[in-house]
Symmetry: C2
Subunit: 216 residues, 2 copies
């Protein structure tokens, strides 16, 4: 019989990840030492090393455990007989995200994961998987909306998903950095845009005269 | 007469910021030493210290120099007699941002600035200013669109600005991490959403039963 049950191991693992998450949120991934994580978790170095060998592994595991939470929220929405209006879907997602922004919430360290993903290969893998899965889910939402006649029949679900996938990171950033946005405001803004006058047929490419491009 | 002209000083300053930007993009803000920045810039430690005393000051200055570029792009759009369609405005912004994502482009290190802003006070100041100014600009766009009758007369420009401010960071993230989105796709997605069926009048709050909230 195993001395340490699987359940016990899993609790330990989560306890270590919670501790790492709190430390990273407080002073940043790079400024946090493994010693501080041992202390925060109340475990010995040896006990922690049994589960994780580096901070990279810790942040990868934190990104990975967000996945089922995001999936559960999103599947719940897709499982409904009738899909809620798009502004409500986004607001639910934003509300879920907001609830995980407390001092030790996973979403508080999301921008650190994004930053690491731009130059650290293993973390890139974890974050790109999360982002890609989230976007695939938005593709399914867009397909449903199109099939239900709530988006035009020739709508490209991928293009819609690119926009919808963009919104949540920018919402997280505004809330963490400016501190003044909430899910209801986001919802109101989306409702207004969905209710606005459709744009006229468009010229093939963005207009020339883009100062920012000329300058660079 | 001053030995070193103001123009020379400014060129030097930009040269140092370019070097820091390349290093940060390649191996990350924390993993970059000041020695590496001296080497990359081709200047001595003493010469660099005359302009910047720390990596924090460097990243703050990098964020600050994005400001006039963003402002120029945005003012150009607002100065037009007729505002372009919203999808084109966002696409122009996204095109501008895409043009600065090269190996040493400022946008490549934007996520590192966002991450630092969540726990480093001086950098928080620089990033929140950039984000707040960008959002104020989107408020002005939303007001113009409303006054031109392209958004409903009772539209809240702030709520619209919260959504529009959200889109670009999420676009940057998808492009840097997944590498497969461009301004034209973003534009197409926005066009579809703007052309979609308006949502029905909505209940006061997001529906209950949010699994993600229940779980936390």
């Amino acid at each position: 019989m195993p001395r340490v049950s699987e359940e016990h191991r899993e609790r330990r693992r989560q306890q270590i990840l919670d501790a790492a998450q709190s430390c990273f949120a407080r002073k940043g991934f790079h400024e946090t030492s493994l010693q501080e994580i041992f202390r925060e978790s109340g475990l010995s170095a040896g006990a922690v090393y049994r589960y994780f060998r580096s901070k990279d592994e810790l942040i990868g595991a934190i990104a990975a455990r967000s996945q089922p939470l995001v999936a559960a929220l999103l599947e719940e929405i897709l499982d409904a007989d009738e899909l809620p209006p798009l502004d409500e879907i986004v607001a639910r997602f934003a509300t879920g995200v907001t609830g995980r922004m407390g001092p030790s919430g996973a979403v508080r360290i999301a921008p650190q994961g994004w930053a690491l993903a731009t130059y650290n290969r293993p973390i890139h893998l974890a974050i790109s998987e999360l982002l890609d899965n989230t976007r695939s889910w938005w593709v399914r939402v867009a397909e449903r909306l199109r099939d239900d006649g709530r988006l035009p029949p020739d709508a490209d679900p991928y293009a819609v998903a690119v926009v919808l996938t963009s919104i949540i990171p920018g919402f997280i950033l505004q809330r963490l950095v400016l501190g003044d946005v909430d899910a209801e405001t986001l919802r109101a803004g989306i409702r207004i845009l969905l209710s606005s006058e459709p744009p006229p047929p468009h010229a093939a490419h963005p207009a020339p005269g883009n100062i920012l491009n000329q300058a660079l």
